[in-house]
């Protein structure tokens, strides 16, 4: 399911920093990862450490899933957050009483099938 293309490798540096795709030519930070820069379409992109801090935009508690592996983890909380660099990420939310615009911090976690995921918790 996860495609092993250059644009799907992501997540974190050896030091545990959060990495996002960065265009050295025009400075665009982008997510989800792409093969080329969404702004200038230049193709030699880098990974750059960004602040893991951001704010909560919206969230949902999922009571159903199309994916058998998630069934025993329901209900689970998913959110959309905006990092301070401007990128918007879908994340797992580890906050009991979420509030719109509350500050969050994003870390790397693991999904039910061992997939690497973003997890946001209270800052």
């Amino acid at each position: 399911m996860q495609q092993d293309t250059p644009s799907s490798k992501q997540f974190q540096s050896a030091k545990g920093e959060l990495l996002l795709q960065h265009c050295p030519e025009c400075g665009t930070m982008q997510y989800p990862p792409r093969e080329v820069c969404k702004t200038c379409l230049q193709h030699e992109l880098e990974w750059k450490a960004v602040s893991p801090q951001g704010s909560l935009l919206s969230w949902t508690v999922l009571h159903t899933s199309l994916e058998p592996a998630f069934q025993k983890h329901l209900p689970c909380c998913i959110a959309e957050i905006k990092l301070d660099c401007g990128a918007q990420l879908i994340v797992q939310l580890a906050i009991e009483k979420p509030l719109a615009l509350m500050p969050v911090i994003v870390e790397i976690g693991e999904g039910p099938q061992g997939t690497v995921l973003y997890v946001a918790s209270k800052k």
């Binding site: 919206s58 969230w59 999922l62 199309l66 990420l89």
Partner: protein, 391 residues
């Protein structure tokens, strides 16, 4: 925005057909597309050789393409168009078919939206919908569009003080409209209490906020007015149509769609406004998107859709704004890409006095709106058309 848009003078939509919906089917997409095409021929009394253009939307047609269909149906064509625009596909099909005929590239175009549905096929669609969703959305709970629209709904509720009951009014009115439509998969009366007591799917979305995926097909023909007259077919004239994709916005979570970009051009081209519409067919994958269409298409101000639904009778035979007059996808079911054709085909049915359910009492002008393709965290494609009863 594009004031130079050429009008669609003398182009008409006719022969609305529906291949009955079913929850699941063991047939593949070509069965549904083929049956729709056959019904178009039966209804229009045209020979297959008279169809020289074909526009098709289907998620489940792969590995076949629209080119495969010419051989499947032994059809020669001068013009083919595949429409991968989700719920915006039917309006775009009508628009492009009309342009092709206007430009002499085709004379009669069959427009068809069709999909099959098997156990697990919706999961496969959601899991492999786009690179972004496969990599950056689906791994988070595997919920498909429900998760994204739940978050759009929560944001919209918070921002404008909208209550669950307000969404419920839309769903309840549509169910009422569906009761007389034999093609509707959900035909049990729905009360606001039923709506509110239903289980959560993805909070704040409950069961009746979400469409039921199914199999089925919808289709119509595009031709000149003269041709429709010759064939003795009742028709709807295409007054205006617009599409827009990936509109720029400053909103982190969208509170509207790209209809905002072209609304004025659409009404100017049709020389009428929202108050002239005798009915409205919105794309109703979730009621929040219906509200955003009410606003972005000028039926009420931004943020006022909840007030609008509290004070407007949305039923087919009421004297408010007849809305999703056959029941919409929320009641009839969402037959994949055919879901985007439901509103268009229903609009043509209403304007030619051949509804499957109830007839809108005065149906002279109607607006059809489409929305589709949640590639990552918002719908990318929006379209709308204004149709007029043929004379």
């Amino acid at each position: 925005m594009n004031k130079q848009t050429k009008n669609y003078e003398n182009l008409v939509l006719t022969a609305p057909v529906t291949v009955p919906y079913q929850r699941f089917s063991h047939h593949d997409a070509t069965w549904f597309i083929g049956r729709a095409l056959r019904q178009l021929l039966d209804k229009s009394n045209l020979q297959k050789t008279a169809i020289d253009g074909l526009a098709v939307s289907s998620f489940t047609l792969a590995p076949d393409t629209i080119a495969s269909l010419t051989e499947q149906f032994d059809l020669s064509a001068r013009w083919l168009e595949a429409l991968p625009f989700g719920g915006a596909s039917a309006v775009i099909a009508a628009k492009r078919a009309a342009r092709a005929i206007q430009n002499g590239d085709a004379t009669v175009v069959a427009c068809i939206g069709a999909d099959t549905a098997q156990q697990g096929s919706f999961r496969n669609l959601a899991a492999n919908f786009s690179r972004f969703s496969t990599n950056a959305v689906y791994p988070y709970g595997g919920a498909g569009p429900n998760a994204i629209f739940a978050m759009i709904t929560r944001n919209y509720m918070d921002k404008f003080g909208v209550q669950a009951e307000d969404f419920g009014r839309i769903c309840v009115a549509q169910r009422k409209n569906a009761l007389d439509n034999p093609n509707s998969l959900l035909r049990k009366p729905l009360s606001i209490e039923d709506y509110l007591s239903a289980r959560y799917i993805a909070e704040p979305l409950r069961l009746f906020d979400c469409v039921m995926p199914c199999a089925g097909a919808e289709g119509f023909l595009v031709m000149t007015k003269d041709r429709a007259h010759q064939l003795g077919l009742p028709y709807a004239s295409l007054l205006a149509a617009e599409e827009y994709h990936n509109a720029r916005t400053t909103e982190d979570i969208p509170i509207g769609g790209a209809w905002r970009v072209f609304k004025d051009d659409l009404y100017n081209a049709a020389n009428c406004g929202p108050k002239d519409m005798d009915f409205l067919q919105t794309y109703d994958d979730y009621p929040v998107i219906v509200m955003q269409q009410f606003e972005d298409l000028g039926f009420c101000e931004k943020g006022n859709a909840a007030d609008f639904v509290r004070s407007t009778d949305l039923s087919t035979i009421g004297n408010g704004l007849p809305h999703n007059t056959g029941g919409g996808q929320l009641s009839v079911g969402q037959a994949g890409f055919a879901g985007g054709f439901l509103g268009m085909v229903e609009a043509i049915r209403q304007l030619t006095q051949q509804p499957l359910g109830r007839q809108v009492i005065k149906a002279e002008h109607g607006l059809v709106s489409g929305f589709g393709m949640v590639n990552y965290n918002k719908g990318l494609c929006a379209a709308a058309a204004i149709l007029k009863k043929g004379t």
